[in-house]
Amino acid sequence: MNNKLRLTAFAGILLLGSCKKDFVSINTDPNHITAANINYGYLFTNAQLIASGNSDANGYEDWRNNLIYSACMIQHLSSTTGYWDGDKYLYNASYNSAYWDDNYNNSITNIVEVVTHTRADSVAQSNFYNIARIFRVFMFQRMTDMYGDCPYSQAGLGFISGITQPKYDKQQDIYTNMLSELADAASKLDPSKPNTVGASDLLYAGDPTQWKKFAYSEMVRLAMRMSKVDAASAQKWVQAAVTGGVMTGNADNAIVVHQNVSGTPVPNGDGLILIGNDPNAYRLSLTFVNYLKGTGDPRLSYLGTVCKDPTVTTDMGDTTFAHQLGQPNGYDVPGSKTAYDLANAPNWPGSQNAYSVVNRYTFSRLTAPTFFVTYGETELLLAEAAQRGWVTASTAATYYTNGVTAAMAQLAAQAGAGPSTAAITAYMTANPYNPASALVQINTQYWVASFMDENESFANWRRSGYPTLTPVNYPGNVTNGTVPRRFTYPQGEASTNSANYSAAVSDLNNGDKMTSRVWWDVQ
């Protein structure tokens, strides 16, 4: 009997002893990738792809923020379609927050994961870590330029730090941190260390030398954005950038090359809307076409085309320079019989299809490239810096000529089709740099050079005030007939992150409105 009792006790102890045996391996999902085996390069690919504005295979962010709002507000495009609210400064909350909504819990989560997990490794992942930091700056630059104060230091840390309600950092603080991040990361890029990201980096295949140029060019963009609000810092950082070494040619351009794979976010979001989802909703703006025509800009034939019926996607249209026609902003569909009927607009050509749409050999393609930062844009910003006397490495005229020439040449080289070298030379001869109207000239060229990177174009216009746009005053607009100055926060933030959201809104000069100005956008 004693033996029986002992056996019983033994059985009990055995079970006790093994209470938590194998628990870790049991709770490991054999069908899911974990930190043990993820290649963070794949997350980096995702961050770059989604930052290009097409997170959901429908181009929704590009459609709503980049095209419907920014492109129309800065009058690259014009639209008579009811929901293209940017044309008339009408308000749509979810269109305003589209880029925020689709990036924070997607591309930003990914880049934060990458930065967090590559940080610990001091040698092997060092270049990858610093590349990811640089790209993260680019992503937040776009975000804060669109919205102002926004979650930055605590963004994307829901799992890593358990922060479910990130605070909104001040845009000034974000800028300060982004600039030092760029400087630090660029200085630590080292071609002698391994390239562990490789082809997962869609921009430069992990080349540290290229990323260094990207970092300093991005630094120029950030620095010049502060030109009005903090000229001293702007000067300091633009000098640091030139010393560090910016892009030196179109080959350095930061480009995401897209593929034509339907049902995935792989196609270019802009192209998807312009040729696929909404080909008849917009036309080139009168403001834009008139400027290009007025200067005899050879890019017009590569940015515009006149289609008999834009919905026929195989109709490549007529790209003849002289046939291009811009549609005025602020009108309703022709035949709508409203006070703003397009048919009543001056110089009505009789048919809306006489107005140009986006050229189908270049940007109105699923495989059109996305330009993040270009050599041409950088040189133009440096031209302004030189004009202001902040940099002296080259003259403003040289920077300007380089910038415009590169912006024209990149079309043929990288966007599918563009003007010939002879045409570019002829244009430069006819339209030389003019110090007397330098800021107008430079920033108007920046406006043309950033065509289709509309959010960037909108930001530089807000900073510089050029080109002079023709604001419209349509009934129901929310800006009192002025061009908007920012995008509004997602409505959900009021409930999911209320304290931080309220604090951010109270710091805006005009509340959470499209007319409020971000920190660097001083009057």
Binding site: L5, T45, A199, V266, N497
Partner: protein, 1073 residues
């Protein structure tokens, strides 16, 4: 013989021995005496008749007057006098039958003595009954300090509900069975004492013969339509069930630890213990199901829009579901086929589309026993034809239950339940497309559904639709061309060894297994319009296998000892290892794979995955383990005062395994005061009880605490694209089980010699650390976080009243009334004031949701309401009602009061049972009535249609600018604006009180007199006529059954185009050999 058997293994041994060795024993007696055992010499018939005197007393030796004493077979008898004495003439060998209401009948063979003293045992379950409690531990009912209720297997066989959950409707106080509009192969939702958790399972643990029985729902219809793929409870044959023990409170189920927080339902299958030798029982049940037509439509204006009837085929195709046409006058109109018909009301679409569903369930059971053990083998076959054409279920169940004493002290028990189940064409309901039920609900009231019957295909083989809306399909095409087939093979069983070390000490070991393979094959045919993206190829397919198994290994040591005359002591200690693996894999919309159905088919009409060029493969694996140690101790004093304590600790792989202390204690006490004190004669029995316990409704989702990544199904420039997986939910490494604590007190009283009784319970159940999905700002990178912070309270009372108002020799009337009230309150949901309950979003009606709102009862239906002004009048703008600025709660969708009222009348061999049940205090959002308003079929759309059918309504209320509303609005526009989503939607219009009273079941049973089959091997024949859902006595929901919930998730209260309610009539024949 035995040696031979043993060599063939345990199973063969038991079966072999019992079949072969016991067969000759069949001729032994059929009944057991309370007196001398069979085989003992009981008397000599030669001794002549003489007077026998005796005294009859109760348990305490008190004389019992009025006791009936008869001699078996004789017509007359005597009764005892005031001193409990009787005198009767009898001869040696006669059997005295001694009976009295409230006491167990005793049969005493007359021997040689002439003076007898006979004690009668009170016939009260509470006084003597032994019940099964958690972990299969048997205890005296009187010792329990908490509420349990037993439901006899016969209640279930007679109710003939296939799903055991549904069969419990109205039977047990505090057990609420939610009615679901998901048809006869659908799921059930059983909750006991309310809902304890916002996110976790709220249904009780089911245990069949000691084996935890998985009752997971295999899939349900949600916002965008779908199918209820059923749960586990239909995998048990009611004919195999001996009894069901409902453990309602946490104290009762505390030994189940994290699985016991919602109570437990212990199912005991029949054993052969009662049959000496081998017996055979044959049962057959034939039932006919018919649809209950709750429709009450308007038939004054027919098909068409804006008061115009279709004058040509094109117009008919535009309006197959619109009854906004002209006044019906029998004049010629044109239907969707271009045929001319009489524009007259057409009311028979239900009758013509639905058929009578015939169900036949036959079962045969073989059972037997001897002094070494017993066995029972039950085999059943079920065919269930649905009321929807071309849909049925076939199920075979083999149930085996055997106990055998291998050695003197070693007992082996083997139980197994094996089921094969095939279901052909489960119905799609909720939203279109694919909804086979929608047509007969919404077709215009002058549209004959049979027009589509022989017109379901176009000449090219594609679907012929009744109208331009490609998402509302032809019901005959849905019934005959869609495929939605499932099959399940399931084995549930256990093998246990029990060794009695000493007469008061045993050790037991057990291995249990529950597992199934569930195959799903779903085809949307290639001719379905909306799937034919290129105009040619269409259709899609989902085919997967769901593999589940749970293995439990456990041991238990138990002691049972009496100390002196006054004290008794019971103790048990044991442990369990639970190991669960679930795996899904297949192509198409495999659950949790993120994939949609695979399609299109390359060759029309050939439905195989091989006929699809690109088909996403999905795989989903989950493994979890819970280790547990537990123990219990019971102390009894004088068999009237009992104190009991239990404890259990669980260790989880799925939760934070760095914490050890998930311990669930319970204490309970019971005091049978009628045994301790002398009370008036009319108090037959009295007990008070109280308990406190901790439990959980733990989380069984694996891998919630680590971050995982996924790879997209595409590449960019050849590069894989990775992402953070987990659907935006932040993994939580510190997860804990939900905590539930319950206080319970109650009393059980029997009066008037047990002719009347009351059982009452009060409970206070508090949930803390509920796992709540708290919203996170998307800027955190995620949309929500799972946190242990929710708090819910459930308090309530349960009352069971029983009485036997009439009892004579031939006739008796038994009444049972149960009632429960549960008050739930959501106390905290993690800082937010509301939380939306997952799984419950109505397709129709924007912003309607089921939410848990702090300070309110569980499951509030929220949506936009009517704005009213200070005068209480509805406010209108441009003649249409103004929507509230925010969504507002309209009340809880969980019934507050539930109960049942059962009457059993027994006359000689006839027995009639009638069960009413009722539920009060819940709301339902009716998507069906919304569509009926939209389509102009609801009677409330009549006012204002006018002579031509295109009239206007001036709604009663005030204009937003002040003064009464005077603006007239077109009647069709008015109702379509209110019912369509968006800024004009008024959800309040479609909120109904879901209270009801129903005549749930009635059955009449006749037991053939034994003499009918004297000389045959037959021992008994029962014939019964059964009917269910006979009469809806009271309801407030027009056109629908108030019990029409879409699915069995925690989000209750939404209804849309569900499976129609069914009424069944059947005949049951039971023959025992």
């Amino acid at each position: 013989m035995r040696k031979f058997c043993l060599s063939k293994g345990l199973f063969g041994c038991m079966l072999g021995i019992q079949l072969v060795c016991y067969l000759p024993a069949r001729s032994e007696g059929n009944f057991a005496y309370t007196g001398p055992r069979a085989g003992e010499r009981v008397g000599d018939p030669s001794i002549p008749l003489g007077p026998i005197t005796g005294t009859i007393t109760d348990n305490n030796g008190k004389p019992l007057p009025g006791v009936s004493v008869t001699i078996r077979g004789a017509k007359k008898g005597v009764t005892t006098d005031a001193t409990g004495s009787f005198t009767v003439n009898a001869k040696n060998g006669d059997i005295l039958v001694i009976s009295m209401i409230g006491f167990k009948t005793k049969e005493i063979p007359v021997g040689t003595q002439t003076a007898l003293t006979i004690g009668l045992e009170p016939f009260s379950a509470e006084m003597t009954e032994v019940v099964v409690t958690a972990l299969g531990i048997k205890k005296q009912a009187r010792s329990l300090g908490y509420s349990t209720t037993e439901v006899a297997g016969s209640e279930l066989t007679q109710s003939r509900e296939l799903n055991i959950g549904d069969a419990l409707t109205g039977q047990v106080a505090g057990v609420s069975v939610a009615g679901l509009a998901t048809g006869p192969y659908g799921s059930s939702r059983v909750t006991i004492r309310g809902n304890s958790s916002i996110s976790q399972n709220n249904q009780p643990l089911y245990v069949i013969d000691g084996v935890p029985f998985d009752n997971s729902n295999q899939g349900y219809a949600g916002q965008w339509g779908g199918t209820d793929l059923g749960d586990g409870l239909s995998n048990i044959n009611p004919d195999d069930i001996e009894s069901i023990q409902v453990l309602k409170g946490v104290a009762a189920s505390a030994l189940y630890g994290y699985r016991g927080g919602n109570g437990a339902i212990l199912i005991t299958t029949k054993s052969g213990a009662k049959n000496k030798g081998v017996g055979v029982e044959v049962n057959n049940n034939l039932t006919a199901n018919r649809v209950i037509d709750y429709r009450d439509y308007q038939y004054q204006y027919g098909q068409g829009a804006l008061g115009v009837k279709p004058a040509n085929q094109a117009a008919a195709l535009q309006s197959p579901y619109y009854s906004w046409g002209a006044p019906v006058d029998g004049s010629p109109a044109v239907n969707f086929l271009g045929d001319t018909y009489n524009y007259s009301p057409y009311k028979k679409n239900f009758e013509n589309f639905y058929k009578t569903g015939i169900t036949n369930q036959g079962s045969i059971a073989l059972s037997g026993s001897n002094d070494k053990g017993h066995f029972r083998l039950g085999i059943s076959d079920l065919y269930m034809g649905a009321v929807i054409p071309n849909s049925n279920m076939k199920q075979q169940i083999i149930n085996f239950n055997s106990t055998y004493n291998v050695l003197k002290n070693l007992q082996v028990t083997l139980t197994a339940n094996y089921i094969f189940e095939d279901v052909k064409n489960r119905a799609n309901y909720s939203d279109a497309p694919g909804n086979v039920i929608a047509s007969s609900l919404y077709l215009a009231n002058t549209f004959d559904i049979r027009w589509m019957k022989n017109n379901r295909l176009n000449p090219d083989g594609t679907e012929l639709l009744p109208g331009a809306d490609q998402y509302f399909e032809n019901p005959y095409y849905l019934a005959y061309n869609y495929q939605n087939t499932t099959s399940r093979n399931r084995l549930t069983g256990a093998l246990s060894l029990k060794y009695n070390i000493l007469d008061w000490l045993y050790i037991q070991g057990q291995i249990q297994r529950d597992g199934y393979v569930f195959d799903v094959f779903q085809v949307t045919p290639s001719g379905v319009e909306y799937t034919r993206a290129d105009g040619v190829h269409g259709g899609n397919l989902t085919q997967y296998e769901d593999n589940f198994r749970e293995i439990n290994g456990s041991f238990m040591i138990g002691a049972n000892k009496k100390f002196g005359d006054h004290f008794s002591f019971n103790a048990n200690a044991g442990g369990n290892e639970q190991d669960d693996v679930t795996q899904y894999y297949g192509v198409g919309a495999v659950p949790n794979s993120g994939n949609g159905p695979a399609g299109p088919f390359q060759i029309a009409g050939f439905y195989s995955a091989n006929n699809i060029s690109t088909k996403p493969f999905g795989i989903n694996y989950s493994h979890l383990r819970v280790n547990s140690l537990y123990g219990s101790a019971d102390l009894g004093f004088n068999n009237y005062l009992f104190l009991s304590g239990t404890t259990r600790t669980d260790w989880f792989t799925t939760l934070n395994y760095n914490t050890d202390n998930h311990t669930y204690p319970s204490v309970s006490a019971s005091f049978v005061f009628t045994d301790a004190f002398k009370l008036p004669w009319w108090v037959s029995f009295g007990k008070i009880r109280a308990s406190y316990a901790g439990g959980s409704t733990g989380d069984q989702t694996a891998y919630q605490n680590i971050l995982t990544y996924g790879l997209q199904g595409y590449t960019v420039s050849g590069q894989p694209v990775g992402y953070v997986a987990g659907q935006g939910i932040i993994p939580n490494a510190k997860l804990e089980p939900v905590k539930i604590a319950e206080k319970e007190a109650g009393a059980n009283l029997q009066f008037l010699n047990n002719r009347a009784g009351i059982d009452i319970a009060y409970y206070d159940k508090q949930t803390t650390k509920d796992l709540v999905q708290v919203t996170a700002s998307p800027t955190s990178g995620y949309n929500s976080a799972v946190k242990n912070i929710g708090m819910i309270s459930n308090k309530g009372v349960e009352v069971l009243l029983t009485a036997t108002p009439v009892k004579t020799r031939d006739f008796s009337w038994d009444v049972s009334f149960n009632f429960a009230q549960n008050n739930s309150k959501v106390l905290y949901v993690g800082g937010d004031s509301t939380i939306t309950v997952g799984g419950a979003f109505p397709r129709w009606g924007s912003e309607v949701a089921i939410q848990d709102i702090v300070g309110r009862a569980y499951d509030q239906i929220v949506g936009y309401g009517y704005v009213t002004d200070s005068k209480g009048q509805r406010v209108f703008k441009n003649g249409e009602p103004v929507q509230t600025t925010n969504v507002i709660p309209f009340g809880s969708s969980i019934y507050k009061q539930t109960g049942g009222f059962s009457n059993t009348f027994t006359y000689k061999a006839f027995s009639l049972q009638v069960l009413f049940d009722f539920k009060y205090g819940a709301k339902i959002y009716s998507g069906t009535n919304l569509l009926l308003d939209f389509y102009g079929l609801q009677k409330n759309t009549l006012a204002g249609r006018g002579a031509d059918g295109n009239g206007k309504i001036v709604a009663k209320g005030d204009d937003i600018g002040g003064g009464p509303n005077t603006t007239a609005v077109g009647i069709q526009q008015y109702w379509q604006d209110i019912s369509a989503g968006g800024a004009d939607h008024i959800a309040q219009e479609f909120i109904y009180d879901a209270s009801f009273i129903k005549l749930r079941s009635a059955h009449l049973t006749y037991s053939l007199p034994a003499k009918t089959f004297q000389g045959t091997p037959i021992k008994g024949i029962n014939v019964s006529v059964v009917a269910r859902n006979l009469w809806t006595v009271m309801k407030h929901t027009p056109n629908i059954d108030p019990e029409s919930n879409l699915n069995n998730t925690n989000g209750q209260g939404l209804e849309l185009s569900g499976y129609p309610a069914l009424r069944s009539y059947g005949v049951n024949v039971n023959v025992k050999f």
